[in-house]
Amino acid sequence: MRLKEVTISGFRGFRDRQTLNLDKKVILTKGSNGSGKSSLAEALEWLFFDEISRKKKSLCKSEYAGEFLRNIHCEKDQETFVEVLAIINGKEVRLKKKLLSPEKKEYYIDDSIVKDFSQLGINLAEVYKPILSQVETKHYVETDPKDRWEETNKILGLGVLSEFREVLQGLLSVKKNENRYETPRKIVYGIESELKEFGELQNLDEIMQNRPFSPQKFKKDLAKTIIETYSLETMTIDRLGKTLDREILKLAQRNENFQAIQTLIVPSYRVSTYSSKVIESFRKIIASLKMLKVVNVEFHNFLEIGKKLICNSTCPFCLEKTLTKEKLKLIDERIKDTKDSMQHLSDVDSKLKEISSLKDELIQGFAVFPTTFTIEQIKERISRTPEFMNEIRKIGDIRNMITYSNETLVELKTKIENLMDEIEVVIKNKAPFDEMKFVAKIDELERAANTADKTLTQLTDELTSLLRTMMSKTPGLSSKEKAELNKALLFRKMIDRLDDIEYVGIYESNLNQISELIEKVEKFEKTKSEKLLTNLTKQIKEFYARLNPNEKIQFSEIVPTKGKSRRIQIKATSFGKTMNPVSCFSESHMNCLCLSVYFSQRVLNNPYWGFLLLDDPIQTMDENHAKNLIRILKEIAKEKQIIVLSYDTKFCQDFTDLFYGTDYIFYEFSGYSKNGPKIDLKQAPFDTYLTIARRYHDGTMEERAIAANNLRKAIERFALDILVRKGKMGRGKALELKLDERLEKIETSNLMTIEEIGEVKVIMNVCDAGSHEPPRREVTPTELLDGIVTMEKLASKYLK
């Protein structure tokens, strides 16, 4: 595949629709920083590979969330798309990709909507990317020696594996810090540390920490340990809990302050059990709501009815079915999406009912608390023990916390109910569904759930700690009795918290699985990269030597280190002696190495693509290295179309010198406004300027100004070519002359007749008048067409 033309609209730096003619073997695009060059590379990357390297390489992915691909100055109804006219197997094919929302795209081949570009007969995800982005080179050049293995793999085209590892790594860190895991983890951590106080319970501690965790084994061993400790008959866990309650009572009743403590035990467990259940339910609801991305019943109904109506209809003229298989498939997919959304909606509805009953239960639990356990009663009951004075104050705080927790839960419930109401309105009234607003509300809900979760955890912690302090300060119990009481309380807690222990055990087993998967992917990546580097070393070495022909440092090979290490060893020699490239390779050497790996793998080893694109390839190279690169490109240009983007004036000058007179075009991104880059055709063949002039000569006033400007450039190029080809003048010298001076020289050298030069001057006047902004006068389509025809006639006489 090679490219003939690219059109970009509303994408990244391009607001206005702009078309670039790429129908040349070599295309150079020069532009200063921020002029929009990289947007061109990104447009092609996105079109073919559905990604942009800048995002992939960014450490802060959130910066690339939402509509980062759409130009920020776009009008509301402006389309965002990239379109190319490509040559595939000798045929012209128009490929277009439209961005509908951050997650929705539409693909077109020759104006027909398609699922993706797989119809081209090749899976684009199975060929190497021919585009070397600016950030890829930059990362390779600047990378720390310890990360060179990873960066080399990326240039080799194995990046997807490290991306997958990064996703898994990110997942691990997110999951380890998740709120819903944090609370049960704290509880289980408390249980684990309490277990350590009892040597005879070490087996339970070990089972709890075993990964993968077996809930059945833990439950069985816990029951067995309790039964053996208290010499009980075999019974279920629930019944064991009640038996333990009696044990706790029996031990605690020996104490004079027990009554005060007893009043705390029941509400303490109740609060902690209810709170974790309720928060978990809230989180499940939020997860379901997140899945509810598209609710558009109107669209669903329309498609169903529409499908029935047109499914069997035929065109009255050609008698063929109007609905193609592809279109039918697309409609079916959209119906399925909508149905899925409806299913999520009904899940959410049932979960809301579930949460509602849980919430009521929780509020009842709180209601019991103040009636049986008022501050006054506690004061009265425990005031006889001076050590409890601090606890009396704490109880006041706890009462306030309960009220606050209750309020946060009610607020959370109300928010969910309100959101549900809004969704119902969308369904009933068939109103449009505002996805962005919906996502914002979900975020708000999550924040509210986190607050409620933290408040309830704090409350549970406070109650437990209060209970334990009071127990430890209670006179009348021997240390043995206290230990027995603590053990019984610990068993009771483990029975109450079985759900949390199971949750943490399985959750952490899953995290373990992910960690192990990361290691497996890394091992796989290592095998692949070793094989590739062994096969490519010769080519890489050759490219490197061509980039640095007279260098004192010569690259010899890249060798991945053996074993588990993720390092790579770059070997080099200096005048025949092996040297350490880590200390001697400059950024420029790394730049050359990056290009050598890229050329070896993604250019030579990549037959599908008839083009390559280099975005700012000479980042740290000096003039000589850059010139060597241009020579390599000239060689490659025999086989492939080359597109190079650069900011470097000297590089662009050298590039032009080498490619001048060949099938070459030179664009300059000469300025940037909110409309997008201002693109000038700097050095193009005569016929390219003339084609553009012809395209716009009969358009609007602005389009005719473009035509006049290009017609003038065609004359400039014509005069230059006459002087170089017929007058044998050096190109550099001819370039220094203004158009008037060039024509004068042509006249004095008798390279054209005086009449012909006169004709050219007339056209020049038309162009000068029409190409200004605003034009000095409005030139007519006829004047322009006459000029184009005259220039074609003269070119045919002198340049062919």
Partner: protein
Amino acid sequence: MPEDKLLKELLKYLEDPLDKKYVEAYIHDKEHGLSSKFDEIVEATIDET
């Protein structure tokens, strides 16, 4: 970039069904430009509790 090919090779290389599930979900999301299937697998795995 031969991404599909590599990930499919990785699928063959892995033996554990859950490992495969993670890779399949990742492939699905890459193809559809979303991050839903992968999250779904993770959530489903976590919610197995």
